[in-house]
């Protein structure tokens, strides 16, 4: 245990236990079809913990060796899931043998991070555009395969991971900015205020970075063009096409109109007030007002039953964990280890942000689990494996020093 980051480990254990208790409460405390999944979750946590310990013993060399093969294996699994996957709730995301089910997208997330880290570590930053293009190619294949499952949430996590890793690997900030901003423009184009805010930010950032004239023209021009075209292109679609796209992107799309999921989740969290309704005491939860309450919306059960204090503690725990993980990345001597560490860290951080943001009504609803806490075998095990790999990087860093 000498070479473990003990605070990070304790935080992970705490988060997993919170998860077990909340999954138990979310499933057993429900009036209709109450099947207690708490024990189930505990078993998965134990399995994940064993894998975490095993992976923490792994050598850096093996990770480098396994980077591309694991990436190819993940792609294969993603293809297989498209043809032979099991479907739950309108999405084909699972590969199953008997009662055992695996979510290849969770595996692909880690594998893609490995492959990206391996590739980026070899680049020396003198050809940023070439580096970015190849990195984009590496990510785009699993991204596309995950999107069509569909599992937009998990796929989206890959984007900040890629950008963050490239930045960590030395790709100039301005180059990344030039690529990212037009994409943001597409997303923001649906609201004039948001889009205008984005444009002001873009101009300020470019000025601050002392961007050249042509970069100024290209970045702003791209933003304006995409910003103008998107609503127009969207408007040309027929209603059923829009619906189809929206439902495709988000199968759990509000069955009752006017943001039912979001509203119910907000009511659940808000009604918890300072100290919450107590474990097993959530009423929103108990009466199934919360959609996917033991998986994607577990954080609203936390908010409802443990109150502001409990939810804030959970957020602080995540903060401590991520703070420590950034520390691991910062102290790595090996480029590969550092880039891999920051990639895995950003992966976890993004999931926390998207999931909590969705639960609290800050971000649109995309199905994505809360790391360590949400119910789900592959995701819990994958999260713990990520921690194991990060721990191994820490040990490897010490070895190399």
């Amino acid at each position: 245990m000498r070479d473990w980051d003990v605070p990070a480990l304790l935080v992970v254990v705490a988060l997993c236990l919170v998860g077990v208790v909340m999954v138990h409460s979310a499933t057993a405390g429900r009036e209709a079809h109450g099947e207690d999944l708490g024990l189930d979750q505990l078993l998965r946590v134990c399995a994940g913990a064993i894998l975490m310990v095993v992976l923490s013993r792994i050598s850096l060399r093996f990770l480098q060796f396994a980077a591309y093969p694991s990436y190819l294996l993940a792609l294969l699994l993603l293809v297989v899931v498209l043809f032979a996957g099991r479907t739950h709730g309108g999405a084909t995301r699972w590969l199953g043998v008997g009662a055992l089910e695996v979510q290849p997208s969770e595996v692909a997330k880690v594998a893609t991070t490995l492959a990206l880290a391996f590739f980026l570590a070899e680049q020396r930053g003198n050809k940023p555009w070439r580096t970015l293009a190849i990195a984009a190619a590496i990510v785009s294949v699993p991204f596309a395969l995950i999107v069509v499952e569909p599992d937009l949430g998990t796929a989206l996590v890959l984007l900040p991971v890629t950008v963050g890793m490239a930045w960590w690997a030395g790709v100039p900030f301005l180059a990344l900015f030039t690529v990212i901003v037009p994409m943001l423009s597409v997303v923001c184009a649906f609201s004039l205020v948001t889009w205008a805010t984005l444009m002001v930010t873009v101009v300020v950032v470019l000025a601050w970075a002392r961007a050249g004239f042509w970069r100024f023209v290209v970045v702003c021009g791209a933003c304006i063009v995409t910003g103008l075209l998107t609503p127009h292109a969207w408007g040309m679609l027929e209603d059923y096409q829009k619906t189809r796209i929206l439902v495709f992107l988000n199968p759990g799309l509000d069955p009752r109109g006017s943001g039912w999921n979001v509203i119910q989740s907000r009511i659940a969290v808000g009604s918890g007030r300072l100290l919450g309704k107590g474990i097993m005491g959530g009423t929103q939860k108990a009466l199934a007002f919360l959609p996917a309450q033991h998986t994607d919306f577990i954080f609203s059960v936390v908010g409802e039953e443990l109150g502001y204090v409990g939810a804030q503690i959970v957020l602080v725990l995540f903060g401590v964990l991520l703070w420590r993980l950034v520390g691991i990345a910062a102290r790595c001597r090996s480029r590969f280890a550092g880039i891999l560490a920051i990639g895995l860290t950003i992966g976890i951080a993004t999931q926390v942000l998207i999931n909590a943001g969705m639960t609290l009504g800050l971000l649109p609803v995309t199905g994505l689990p809360l790391p360590f806490i949400s119910y789900g075998g592959t995701h819990v095990i994958a999260s713990l494996c990520t921690v194991g790999i990060l721990q191994s990087l820490r040990r490897n860093w010490k070895e190399t020093s």
Binding site: G170, R266, V269, G270, Q284, F289, Y308, V326
Partner: protein, 599 residues
């Protein structure tokens, strides 16, 4: 210093990453703080209303018993299908529910619209059949916001025989659902008859139950920590009606005739039977399809919705001669022994007024004039007393005045006064001769069967007249406490005992004397006093009247039968009334049970 990064003196990347992390965490924490601390109370309220639905427990409506405890009106359990518009008001769901209920989608949406404006549950089917309930229950998992509630429907064992008497109940209309109204959509309200008259007594007060619902609006059962507020059941009513007598009277009129029967206990004013025919089946009108049936009844040319004994006023014909005789004796304008000659007609103002007996009655005194119903005698009595005095007495006897029976929409009939003629026809535009006709109950005079029964009953009761009443007492089903609704209210008519004795003797003669007009309706074993009447009807066949009471010296029942366009009172109406009287005398033990044979 990281080898891969050029241009930085220090590696700022970890600090930048941590800064971003902090910003994100602070943002999420601020949101948590806003939702849970600043807006917590608001969301708690939302969460409560989210899971709790106030469900109404309808109060059972009071029962109605007849005077010997037979059920006249009673609630029975029924299934109501309701839809909560906040869960189920989308087109697929509504069309699915409508199809299962066998109603049109437009009709379903109309009802939902009303409910939405009231922020109320929508009652789609107030009395669902077992098959409908099964269909709904089978699809419970697909349907949203749809629930089956147990409710209570009204049952009237005697059916149409009590139709106009009890009236009917129907769903409260949208117009009546103003914000102050104690009613809610789907509530039932008395629409006519006793159900309407005693609505506030019978209704009770609804209770509430706090029901947990899940996200699809399915009810999961009561909220444990909030106990239900029990409904207060409506009070029961005990009626003076004898349901057997009521049904007998209904049968005696028969399905092919229109008419009315009123039977009273003249000693107290108890209404023993109040029959109108044709009528309606209150069981059908109170059901979900009531509206269509009502529309059909309302356009029926025989007016089944009219409660004839209190709502139809007709010329009373010769039954009114008792009133004329009483008034003339009280005024002293005739002496019982005065004799007049009937030649079959009477000339007044150059116009002949005929007697019903074209050959004439010969020499007639008062008793004979009543027994044989001589018109010519009473023409002259009318002239002698004059319009002013006759009309004043008629009003004293209750004509042209409401009897005050406890039923809605009673008509008061008419006995014209001098003023009435002056305003209706104009001063000097009417003849003093009208009183000739009025004296025999023809012309402008209109009376309800109830008024005739009340007046003649008062004569039989030695001059004490009681206001008729149906509901005797109410009973709180919870405490068992009884409340007398109205004490018998009697008043003595200003007639001398000699006058009353004379009239009673004459009315006994109507059935007992060989020439009495109702001789054929004599009841063996008891003397019945009575008077026939045949009212001329300018629109067709004459209306037949008979009013009688028995036993003649101290009557316990007075019955008035009226047959619309029936013809002669003696042949059409008298058997109905005497049949009712006889049955009641048997019930009361005054007459022995009928020997078997021709029953």
């Amino acid at each position: 210093m990281h080898p891969g990064v050029a241009g930085y003196d220090r590696d700022i990347r970890p600090a930048a990453a941590r800064a971003v992390l902090l910003v994100v965490l602070v943002l999420l924490s601020a949101r948590l703080f806003y939702l849970q601390i600043l807006q917590g109370a608001h969301y708690l309220e939302l969460a409560d209303s989210n899971r709790v639905r106030l469900s109404i427990i309808k109060a059972p409506r009071g029962l109605m018993y007849d005077r010997s405890g037979r059920i006249v009106a009673q609630d029975r359990a029924a299934s109501t299908i309701v839809l909560d518009p906040s869960y189920g008001a989308d087109s697929t769901n509504v069309s699915m529910v409508a199809e299962l209920l066998g109603m049109s989608v437009q009709e379903a949406w109309r009802k939902i619209g009303v409910a939405q404006r009231r922020r109320d549950d929508c009652t789609l089917d107030p009395d669902a059949t077992f098959a409908t309930v099964s269909r709904i229950e089978e699809r419970r998992d697909i349907l949203r916001g749809t629930a089956r509630r147990l409710s209570l429907r009204r049952r009237y064992p005697a059916g149409a025989a009590v139709g106009n008497l009890v009236g009917y109940i129907a769903e409260v209309s949208e117009k009546e659902l103003n914000p102050d109204s104690p009613y809610r959509m789907g509530d039932l309200i008395g629409r006519s008859g006793l159900e309407r008259q005693y609505e506030s007594v019978l209704r009770g007060e609804r209770g509430f139950e706090f029901i947990q619902v899940d996200a699809a609006g399915r009810e999961l059962g009561p909220v444990p920590e909030r106990s239900a507020i029990a409904p207060i059941p409506g009070h029961d009513l005990r009626l003076s009606i004898d349901q057997n007598l009521q049904t007998l009277a209904w049968d005696l009129i028969g399905p092919d005739r229109q008419g009315a029967v009123v039977a009273l206990d003249p000693r107290r004013g108890d209404v023993l039977a109040l029959v109108s025919r044709p009528s309606f089946d209150p069981n059908v009108l109170g059901s979900g399809m009531g509206h269509a049936v009502w529309a059909q009844l309302n356009s029926d040319s025989l007016f089944p919705l009219l409660n004839r004994p209190i709502q139809c006023a007709y010329p009373p014909g010769s039954t009114f001669k008792i009133a004329t005789a009483a008034a003339a004796l009280a005024e002293g304008v005739i002496q019982p022994s005065d004799r007049k000659t009937c030649t079959g007609a009477f000339l007044f103002g150059g116009r002949p007024f005929g007697c019903w007996k074209k050959t004439g009655h010969g020499s007639v005194d008062l008793r004979k004039a009543i027994v044989e119903s001589c018109d010519v005698y009473f023409y002259q009595v009318g002239l002698a007393i004059g319009l002013e005095r006759l009309s004043r007495w008629a009003h004293v006897f209750g004509f042209g005045e409401p009897t005050g029976i406890d039923l809605v929409n009673e008509r008061s009939g008419l006995f014209p006064t001098v003023d009435w003629f002056n305003t209706t026809y104009g001063r000097g535009r009417w003849s003093r001769g009208t009183v000739v006709n009025l004296a025999i109950g023809q012309g402008e005079v209109l009376a309800t069967p109830l008024q005739i029964a009340q007046f003649v009953g008062a004569i039989g009761n030695d001059g004490v007249m009681f206001a008729p009443r149906i509901a005797m007492e109410s009973r709180d089903p919870v405490t068992g406490r009884r409340t007398v609704l109205a004490d018998p209210k009697g008043r003595r008519l200003p007639l001398s005992p000699q006058t009353i004795a004379l009239l009673k003797d004459a009315m006994a003669g109507v059935t007992e004397d060989p020439h009495g007009t109702a001789g054929r309706s004599r009841i063996p074993g008891v003397v019945m006093g009575g008077k026939t009447g045949t009212a001329q009807n300018p629109h067709g066949e004459d209306h037949a009247w008979f009013v009688g009471y028995a036993p003649a010296d101290h009557p316990i029942i007075v019955a008035c039968a009226f047959v619309e366009r029936g013809g002669h009172g003696s042949s059409e109406a008298a058997p109905v009334a005497s049949g009712v009287i006889k049955a009641w005398l048997i019930t009361c033990g005054v007459l022995p049970e009928e020997e078997s044979g021709d029953a």
